[in-house]
Amino acid sequence: MTTALVHTRLLTERSLRTLARQPAYLAFTLIQPLVWLLLFGQLFRNVVELPGFGGENYLTYLTPGIAVMTAMFSAGWAGTGFIVAMDRGVMDRDLTSPVGRGALMASSLASQSVTIAIQTVIVMAVGVVAGARFDGGALGWTVVIVAAVLLGCVFAALSNAVALLVRQQEALIGISQFLTLPLTFLSSVMLAPALMPEWVATVARLNPVDWAAVASREALSASPDWSMVGGRLGLLLVLAVLMAALATRAFRAYQRST
């Protein structure tokens, strides 16, 4: 076990070193969500006058949702790291060394988590500069970061699994086109649940994006319902662990086809 932790740390350091030397990647994944945040923030400024938003500033409502959405979008490309490693000999070198499959998966998720935490803070800060007001303080921000990281791990694990199974960068586009976009619109990221059609509201309750968005908004509110926040974070944690375990099994498929 300790060996696995040491391996995880060493490989996470390798990924973060790469990230630190290519910060443009991080900036690139932020462009789209920031456009959404500022554009939709302006476009739908008056949507808060409808019932269900509690009459608050729309950016205050929208920003935490965009933060967790950003985490999901960016994590959807996590598998790129595995694909590059497979195309080069890096994956084969790692797999013929004492490094375990679990450590390979865990280090990928750990470095994604660091990326996501940085992105979340940037998105939230841009929201504040643009006019969002959060009452939740440091604890509220921490919950947003935790929710974004957990949601990100769910999708990073999925992305890694697809990478191991399909071994093509193109397959990852499918995750963003067919999964992350619909999941965003089938959640309360943009629109208060009270305004959704009945079936969308039902789907949203089962949607991990919604769990993360709800927990984040709640934690940033003036008087959070902590049992609700805890419940949603708990669900995200369980799902993230489950996805990571399943994704680790995908190494077997990679090795069978080798």
């Binding site: 390798r14 080069r88 084969d92 004492p98």
Partner: protein, 341 residues
Amino acid sequence: MSSTTRSGPAISVAGLTKTYRARDREVRALDGVDFSVEPGTVLGLLGPNGAGKSTTVKILTTLSSADSGTATVAGYDVAREARDVRHAIGYVSQKPGFDPIGTGVENLVLAGRVYGMSARTARERAGELLERFGLADSGRRLARTWSGGMQRKLDVAMSLMHRPQVLFLDEPTTGLDPEARADMWAEIAHLAADDGLAVLLTTHYLEEADHLAQRLVIVDHGRVVVSGTPDALKRGLSGDAIAVELADCSEVERASGVLSGLARVRELTRDLDTLRARVDDGGAALLEVMAALDAADLRLSAATVSRPSLDDVYLRYAGRTFASAEAASVPGGRAREEVAA
């Protein structure tokens, strides 16, 4: 770090089979492969693309598993003791295994630390290997800025960090320019001789196998067709090789008939527009062959006579020349660089 050494061969392979299943067809990659490698020696695993070289290496390095048969590396069973095997081996795959965004030192240190070396020991060992491979001046530069030959040496150095007992080199010089290749050969030769490593080298360069390997195993279609020392394999072919290339390839059949009627022509084979045979006293035999073909009104575009080479060994045991096996194995028949002497 190196595990305890078990006595016996460094690699021992018996009856290995492996079939890949695609959607609509099965490919028998290995069809009963046997060989062994002694410590301190280089074994050349030779064959065209698709012959089963890489599959064999993948099974021995625990990347893949065999359908049947057994294999031990450093005394450990690759299927049941994969963890021990991984500690005992170094693996340089055909593709670069270093991180291009890391420096040489960073790559080497990480490669050592995953085997449990302390940061300090790993840094010392990294410095030692950079020195040895003539890379010390570049150690602090990102590996992506290095030349192809230097990057290949970095790959080899990374696989040596933990002082493995058995080293797998999968086509280590493919894509290198002749100078870098010669340089790499010198390093590989040292590994077995000075460091006592068992090295399994796969290559599709006959010249490389001839130069480096104490023993050769030639594989084709997933089977070992012949094995032995390069010299013994060449000695096994008595006489010289002659080859005549016909101007009109539709005449190959008729020319073959003419030559098979000549008493001194042995082991006649056909390959597209070329006829090959083994003869005693190649010079005189070639004149006789040319005269016979001329009498039958058959025109030649080329004729050669040569001492036995590994290509002849290959032709003899695999039933085709190495170059044509290579071309046939690549979709579209892309011919690879021919290095046969």
